[in-house]
């Protein structure tokens, strides 16, 4: 890819902070694939300094100070939401929570790069991406509270249901993308998965299908260094982004704690997909700062100093430093955001506490779309059995 080839690009949509407001430009004309060899692509240093990158700067040249504040806001609110969910779990309101702490930039950068008509296939930790897609955060909590096994309409925001079985969704994303291509549409598909998931056969199969059918899908691997207690070495002996090469499509490693870089790289990959150039793999190099889930005890397998080293690369802090150094945000902005965060926390808390338990008869709902005689029979037996208690209690 040359710099000239990007100069002709139309101005891109802004990295606005409102979900679903982005409208993509026509496909880019670029053909070749920039890639990060070894050193991850970085546009913002941990100190918040903007560094130049000939290949990727063009993908964020339209990002205004307002957009930067929007990205910052997204990350802060997502982190606040996540913290609220963690404490709700501690208070017994949720059965389990998978925190995204530390992965905000990877999720917000990629999430904001998606267009309204793009389709997202998440795992169980993509709360920031859900936020970008306009999914009500409270909706994400239903399955963790145990009131449902999903909880939203995947077509409502083109944000599919969380997938717990590791790696399965990468195949769904690929199939979806094959369908997009067959339909002649120009939307893209993005599939999220972890470094651990990269070991699953399904993920390799997804890579191969995507390559063979030139499917418009972006594989977005958040390498947060750990798969529960297992570090990267237990999953791979080559840097993950290099896997793509063996399947015949490009792979890039990006600093996953740099929201500007993840935005740029995701835009590159999504536009390739829209342009008919097929799949790509992004490895967002990041860190899971908390436990795997609230049931996990990371002190058994990793040292605190590792976390401390990554804290210095915090995604939110680095954008804040940048906003402050460039005077793109003032105290009023940060204060307002603070109170907005508190309000979000409160709203989520109230939403969870008032979330009703499902009706017990819901067990038999939606088992089949066309109905099933056995389910009808068991539903009736169940109802009669429940009613027998009411009779016994004289209700």
């Amino acid at each position: 890819m040359t710099v000239e080839s990007t100069a002709a690009r139309k101005p891109r949509r802004s990295a606005g902070s409102k979900a679903g407001t982005t409208t993509g430009t026509k496909r880019a004309t670029r053909k070749s694939a920039p890639r990060g060899e070894g050193e991850p692509i970085q546009l913002l240093t941990p100190e918040g300094k903007r560094v130049k990158n000939a290949e990727y700067d063009t993908y964020v040249e339209d990002v205004t100070p307002e957009d930067l504040r929007g990205l910052y806001r997204d990350m802060v609110l997502t982190r606040r939401f996540d913290a609220e969910a963690t404490s709700l779990q501690r208070q017994g309101e949720l059965g389990l929570w998978a925190s995204l702490l530390g992965q905000e930039a990877a999720q917000i950068g990629s999430g904001r790069a998606t267009r309204e008509d793009d389709h997202v296939f998440p795992t169980y930790r993509e709360h920031g991406v859900a936020w970008c897609r306009g999914v009500d955060p409270a909706k994400l909590l239903g399955m963790f509270r145990g009131v449902n096994n999903g909880g939203w309409d995947p077509n409502g925001n083109n944000f599919q249901l969380y997938t717990i079985v590791i790696g399965s969704q990468t195949l769904h994303a690929t199939g979806y993308a094959m369908g997009v291509a067959m339909d002649g549409a120009d939307s893209a598909v993005i599939a999220y998965f972890g470094d651990g998931a990269s070991s699953q056969g399904d993920v390799s199969e997804a890579f191969n299908f995507a390559a063979v059918y030139n499917a418009p899908v972006v594989f977005f691997c958040q390498n947060n260094q750990w798969a529960i207690s297992e570090s990267n070495e237990k999953q791979t002996r080559v840097p993950l982004y290099q896997r793509a090469q063996g399947f015949g499509f490009p792979g890039v490693r990006v600093d996953g704690n740099d929201v500007l870089a993840t935005l740029a790289v995701s835009r590159w990959a999504l536009e390739r997909a829209r342009h008919g150039d097929g799949p790509s793999l992004i490895e967002a190099y990041t860190y899971r700062m908390g436990a795997h889930t609230t049931s996990d005890d990371p002190s058994r397998y990793r040292h605190d100093d590792e976390r401390a080293a990554w804290e210095a690369k915090d995604p939110i802090l680095r954008l804040r430093r940048h906003l402050e150094a460039t005077h793109h945000a003032d105290d009023a902005f940060f204060e307002e955001l603070e109170s907005e965060s508190e309000a979000l926390g409160k709203r989520v808390r109230e939403a969870v506490r008032s979330m009703p338990d499902p009706d017990r008869h819901a067990i038999f709902e939606n088992v089949y779309a066309d109905g099933h005689a056995l389910v009808d029979e068991e539903r009736a037996q169940f109802a009669a059995y429940q009613a027998s208690f009411a009779d016994a209690e004289g209700v």
Binding site: G95, L96, G142, M143, F144, R145, G146, V147, N148, N149, I164, V165, I166, G196, A197, S199, Q200, G201, D202, A227, I228, S229, E230, K234, Q235, T236, S295, D296, D297, R300, Y301, D357, P358, R360, A362, I363, F364, V367, H372, L374, V375, E378, F382, Y385, F389
Partner: protein, 326 residues
């Protein structure tokens, strides 16, 4: 005698420790089994004591775990594989069903597959999707596999020792909601055969047959029924493939009534097999049709509804009443 009170999870840990000590060919494999000691700590401390090449943290790939275990077994090792949760065994189902189960027969008996696949299973712990399932019937249906499930710490200890020694593949279902239940384990006792059912409570009016997590419930049911003057016999099947039908038959010939209890859906479940066989074997002894209590033909529900889905005291007592009413 070496009797010690331990939790079921700890009993399996002790059993695996014994197996690793006794035979250098025994290996533990799975996700997070090393440093973390497994998400339920069943393998706690084993890697520390036996090293990373005996207690192997594998890539996150179930098909890979079972497939490589097959290769290791072909090479003379005895892998004990951990599947982290019931719902995650399916990526490995292909290897288990199409390869592991058939290897011995295909090689005309010349090849052995001494592999144990440990699967924490069942509900009742308020977990999220895919963490509460009871897929035992799916494995029991496959010839070439043995399927077992202990219900208490002592059996967990001894059945694991026997499973590791077995030259056949054993699917070892661990009732995760009983992991923390303690019982006396005599590590020097001489156990009965792996497939033998146990009469855990004698009775004369009706037989309750269960395995794994439902045995404790059935004992509670029998105690409650006892207060109402009914004498229930409780069987712990222990093994789901094969099933010790002789013990079930003997009990039913005595009581004339049978209720089978399991968490898995009733439809095409292990209870169906038991009902059919016992009807065949005990037709003239039965005072009532064999009844089944289990899950519904619906996906395992979200945690807040699992109490409605899982068999409980009332539902089993209800079936007991229905049987006795014939």
């Amino acid at each position: 005698m070496a009797v010690e009170k331990m939790a079921l999870a700890k009993a399996i840990n002790e059993s695996l420790r014994h197996a690793l000590e006794a035979d250098p060919k025994v290996l533990i494999m799975g996700e997070d089994v090393g440093k973390l000691g497994g998400v339920f700590r069943v393998t706690d401390g084993l890697q520390k004591d036996f090293g990373e090449s005996r207690v192997i943290d594998t890539p996150l790939a179930e098909s890979g775990i079972v497939g490589t275990a097959i290769g290791l077994a072909l090479r003379g090792y005895r892998p004990v594989v951990e599947i982290q949760f019931d719902g995650f065994v399916f990526p490995a189902y292909d290897q288990i069903v199409t390869q592991l189960a058939k290897m011995h027969a295909r090689a005309l008996g010349t090849v052995r597959m001494p592999i144990v696949i440990r699967i924490p299973y069942g509900g009742g712990i308020g977990a999220v999707e895919h963490h509460s399932e009871s897929p035992e019937a799916l494995f029991a249906h496959v010839a070439g596999l043995k399927v077992v499930s202990p219900s208490n710490a002592s059996d967990a200890y001894w059945m694991m020792r026997q499973a590791v020694r077995s030259d056949d593949p054993v699917i070892f279902f661990e009732p995760k909601r009983r992991y923390w239940d303690k019982a006396d384990v005599d590590t020097e006792a001489v156990p009965g055969p792996l497939h033998k059912a146990d009469v855990v409570r004698e009775g004369s009016d009706l037989t309750l047959a269960a395995y794994g997590p439902m045995v404790k419930l059935c004992q509670e049911v029998a105690a409650a029924a006892g207060e109402e003057g009914r004498s229930l016999e409780v069987l712990d099947l222990r093994s789901i493939s094969p099933i010790d039908f002789d013990t079930v038959q003997a009990s039913v010939e005595k009581t004339g009534r049978l209720v089978v209890v399991h968490e898995a859906p009733v439809f095409f479940g292990s209870g169906a097999e038991i009902a059919a066989r016992i009807t065949e074997r005990c037709f003239y002894h039965l005072e009532a049709p064999v009844l089944r209590v289990g899950g519904y033909h619906a996906p395992y529900p979200p945690a807040r509804l699992e109490e409605e889905y899982l068999p409980d005291l009332d539902r089993v007592l209800d079936a007991v009443d229905r049987s006795l009413a014939y």
